[in-house]
């Protein structure tokens, strides 16, 4: 038989999902507010894990899942009361179930006693409520070899049975059992409504024939007149004589009638062959088949008169070649290997590049001609865009898969710190690329820990300052200007700026006496090596600081910022690209170089008049645009590009906006056009660069850097503070890279 181990992967995948279902259900399980749908879902999850585990023979896992399931069943039936302790136990049990699955996956036995404590805890809850004793299936006692099994609960059947037994007895004399065999006589008289349960006597008879040489007689004596005949009722009964090998025992025969045992009268007798060298039995006339009144009709149905009774082996339908043509799957999802999707994504990426390349060549064609070609290309561009979006949406997942892990975390953190915490989440359905979702887990975990550990006050302190005892952490997600923005807000004490600043000075991260704005002080917490915890705490002091969080986020092309109000709380804002593969960009040129600006950052591009430009305290240039002053940032200065247009009135200013809404004017030579670009990693073979989000390949095969607007703003700030410059001599103010001479 086929090896079921091929389903193990499915099983483990599914079990992982089920564990999550169970966990999130358990986390919502509240004493006094038991939602039976939730409870059922948890029960089902555990039940399914157990069921599959049984199929693969993971006995330890099954045994443990059974304990877990039993308690859940009690919860379901309201015999086990839901208490906080129970929920804790169940959560532990769910964790342990996950561990057991891990052992099973590795093929390792769980260490002895792994489940003991949890099982004991589970059982305590059982005995606390009305225990649900699961009777182990009583193994049927091995029956003695050949007695008559009669079930005389109904008189009519009794009579009938007697008659049949007589027949059997008669036959026994007439036809001795072959040596080495057993002869079974099975009298099978179903109730008339047997068919209504979907059982079909013909299949049972066929099943008997698989057990040996069977002779089947059909008794039609109970057939009513035609006009009284009801097609769905059964009026037939049968006697089967079965000559079978000795390994066919009563259980096997009973098994045939497993489903109908309660709906029929069955008598089974067995005879062994006569003792060796039997005397020739006296040949007598067969006893009349039925002495029963009225005219007895015995229709012998010659089912397989003598031909080799099909053996169980032969009767089993052979596996059909190929097997699974049309499965008629009604499930509306399919599981696809991520590699396959990624290959698709890459191909779409290459297609986007090719399309851009063709478009570039076509632009050089004489205008007015090739109208149809141009229209076709326009359509191709449209389709490519839609294809790209569809493909990307395959990879999109709601952030709920990450958010759902957080209640657990909050619970643990609250327990460890002794704080009371309420977690509020919103925007769980916001979708973002799978890779982004996966990479969110660690940063969010750390930030929430951080919020509880450092942000929230203890309940007493909160009461003293007139806040509710329980602190609130709000986790939200939303789409904003083509990115996903995740906010973690707490109503704690806010960032302690004097402490942060002195710490930073103490660690040499900031020079004493430096004048930093509040926002700048707040953002010091993202510096490498910075930790405000006075003592290394269990929660945050794991050698992971907010600098690691920031590094994780920036490596995804994201940014993080913090906004804090002393005494009122802090808000961490994370913004990430929706996908890591393709973006709509504007190609710009500076000197000989070309760059791509994400379209989502661009407000407009304009050529300023001299009157719009102003110097600001000799530090930087500002420009009046749409009624507000924006700072000008000269890209050629930031990046040290020779041969660029330095005068803003002859260059172009691209007004860009970062996710936090602040604007700046990027001075570039030219805007070349809008284009979809495939995001290529610069880090894969090189490293990250300030002001650069990633790279891409343009239609001519050349590499262009994709700009990171917020990064550019940061760079320009440092430049402003370091090297006051005049717009007339920009090239002189190149930021000399602090490099060792080589």
């Amino acid at each position: 038989m086929e090896d079921l181990s091929r389903f193990k992967q499915t099983y483990f995948d599914e079990s992982a999902e089920l564990l999550e279902v169970a966990e999130s259900g358990l986390l919502r399980l509240t004493p006094g507010e038991v939602d039976s749908d939730e409870v059922n879902a948890i029960f089902r999850a555990v039940h399914s894990i157990k069921g599959g585990g049984g199929a693969f023979g993971f006995t330890e896992l099954v045994a443990f899942a059974h304990e877990f399931e039993t308690v859940m069943d009690g919860v379901r039936n309201n015999t086990v009361p839901v208490t906080t302790e129970l929920v804790d136990t169940l959560i532990r049990a769910n964790d342990l179930l996950g561990q057991m699955l891990a052992y099973a996956r590795e093929g390792d036995p769980a260490p002895a006693g792994t489940t003991d404590g949890t099982v004991a805890a589970l059982r305590r809850h059982l005995s606390g409520g009305a225990p649900q004793v699961q009777a182990p299936a009583a193994a049927p006692a091995a029956p003695p070899p050949a007695p008559v099994y009669a079930d005389d609960e109904d008189d009519e059947a009794g009579l009938f049975g007697d008659a049949m037994a007589a027949i059997a007895a008669a036959r026994a004399e007439e036809d001795p059992v072959p040596p080495g065999k057993l002869r079974w006589t099975i009298v099978f008289r179903p109730r008339s409504d047997l068919l209504m349960s979907g059982n079909e006597p013909a299949f049972m008879l066929r099943a008997l024939r698989r057990l040996g040489d069977a002779t089947v007689e059909c008794h039609t004596n109970a057939l009513p007149n035609l006009q009284n005949l009801e097609a769905e009722l059964l009026h037939l009964s049968w006697t089967v004589t079965l000559i079978a090998d000795p390994d066919i025992d009563l259980d096997k025969i009973n098994d045939v009638f497993e489903f109908v045992a309660d709906d029929c009268d069955i008598r089974i007798t067995a005879e062994a062959p006569p003792p060796a060298a039997p005397e020739a039995p006296p040949v007598t006339d067969p006893v009349p088949v039925a002495t029963a009144t009225p005219p007895a009709v015995v229709a012998a149905v010659p089912e397989t008169p003598k031909a080799e009774a099909p053996k169980a082996e032969a009767a089993r339908p052979r596996p059909n070649g190929g097997g699974a043509e049309h499965a008629g799957l009604t499930s509306h999802t399919i599981r696809v290997d991520l590699d396959k999707i990624d290959r698709l994504v890459n191909m779409v990426g290459e297609m986007v590049i090719t399309q851009a390349m063709i478009a570039e060549h076509v632009r050089e064609l004489p205008p007015g001609e090739f109208q149809e070609l141009l229209e076709g290309l326009e359509q191709l561009a449209q389709h490519t865009r839609e294809l790209r979006e569809s493909v990307m949406s395959i990879r999109a997942q709601p952030v709920s898969s990450v958010f759902s892990r957080m209640p657990r975390l909050v619970r643990e953190c609250a327990a460890t710190t002794g704080k009371e915490v309420q977690l509020v989440t919103s925007g769980e359905t916001t979708e973002v690329d799978k890779t982004v979702v996966e990479n969110l887990v660690d940063p969010l975990t750390h930030m929430i820990r951080n919020s509880i550990d450092h942000g929230l006050e203890g309940p007493e302190e909160r009461e003293r300052v007139g806040k509710p005892r329980a602190g609130t952490v709000h986790l939200s997600a939303q789409h904003r200007s083509g990115r996903i923005v995740i906010e973690i807000t707490d109503d704690g004490r806010g960032i302690n700026r004097p402490k942060v600043l002195s710490k930073a000075i103490e660690k040499g991260l900031v020079q004493p006496g430096a004048a930093l704005s509040d926002e700048e002080i707040d953002n010091l917490i993202f510096l490498p090596g910075f930790s405000t915890a006075d003592q290394v705490s269990n929660l945050s002091g794991r050698g992971v600081g907010m600098d690691v969080v920031r590094r994780n986020i920036t490596s995804l092309g994201g940014r993080i910022g913090v906004y804090s109000t002393p005494g009122e709380g802090s808000r961490f804002v994370l913004s990430l690209p929706l996908t890591l593969a393709v973006l709509d960009g504007m190609v710009i040129s500076v000197g000989e170089e070309r760059f791509v600006l994400p379209l989502t950052n661009i407000v407009e591009s304009l050529r300023p008049k001299a009157a719009d430009l102003h110097g600001l305290v000799g530090k930087c240039d500002v420009m009046m645009a749409r009624g507000e002053y924006v700072r000008l940032v000269y890209l050629h200065q930031l990046f040290g590009i020779p041969g660029a247009v330095a005068d803003p009135t002859r260059a172009l200013v691209v007004l860009v906006e970062t996710e936090d809404g602040s604007r700046l004017g990027l001075v570039v030579d030219e805007v070349l056009g809008q284009q979809q670009v495939v995001i290529k990693s610069l880090e894969a073979n090189f490293r990250r660069l300030d002001g650069v989000a990633a790279a891409t390949i343009l239609g001519d095969g050349r590499v262009a850097l994709i700009l990171d607007v917020a990064g550019l703003r940061e760079m320009s700030r440092h430049m402003d503070s370091r090297a006051p410059r005049s717009p007339s001599s920009p090239a002189a103010a190149l930021p000399a890279p602090a490099l060792e001479p080589v």
């Binding site: 086929e2 389903f7 499915t10 009777a135 769905e232 339908p317 097997g323 008629g328």
Partner: protein, 121 residues
């Protein structure tokens, strides 16, 4: 003509295993993840046998059996339910609503095939 079996289970693993085993034994197999889906499949396919789990979201197995038996066309359709050994109560509930028989989980492929043969040939 191959017999067509509908396997109804919210566990993908279970559906996969039932489906694979039965296809290997020459049956056609269609799948549904709950009772509601199963009714849809049965409406669209001529099904010779239903194998259903009992515990499922949306519509559980007992309800599915009840609904099927209430339809004249499916009064004699063989329906096997998946139960666990300990579930004597479920067995009798199942029989009461018209289940043809049951398969005790966990089952091995041979057992599954033999039970299927027993009720639909």
């Amino acid at each position: 003509m191959k017999k067509k079996v509908l396997t109804v289970d919210d566990s993908r693993t279970m559906r996969d295993m039932v489906s694979f085993t039965l296809k290997g034994a020459g049956y056609d197999v269609v799948e549904a993840a709950d009772g509601q889906q199963a009714l849809g499949v049965i409406g669209a396919n001529k099904v010779d046998l239903v194998i259903t789990d009992l515990n499922m979201p949306v519509m559980d197995g007992l309800t599915l059996i009840r609904r099927l038996r209430a339809t004249p066309a499916h009064r004699t359709l063989p329906i096997l339910m998946l139960t666990t050994e300990a579930d004597e109560k479920k067995k009798s509930e199942g029989r009461a609503v018209g289940a043809t028989g049951w398969i005790v989980k966990p089952f091995n492929p041979e057992k599954l095939i033999s039970v299927v043969q027993k009720v639909c040939g």
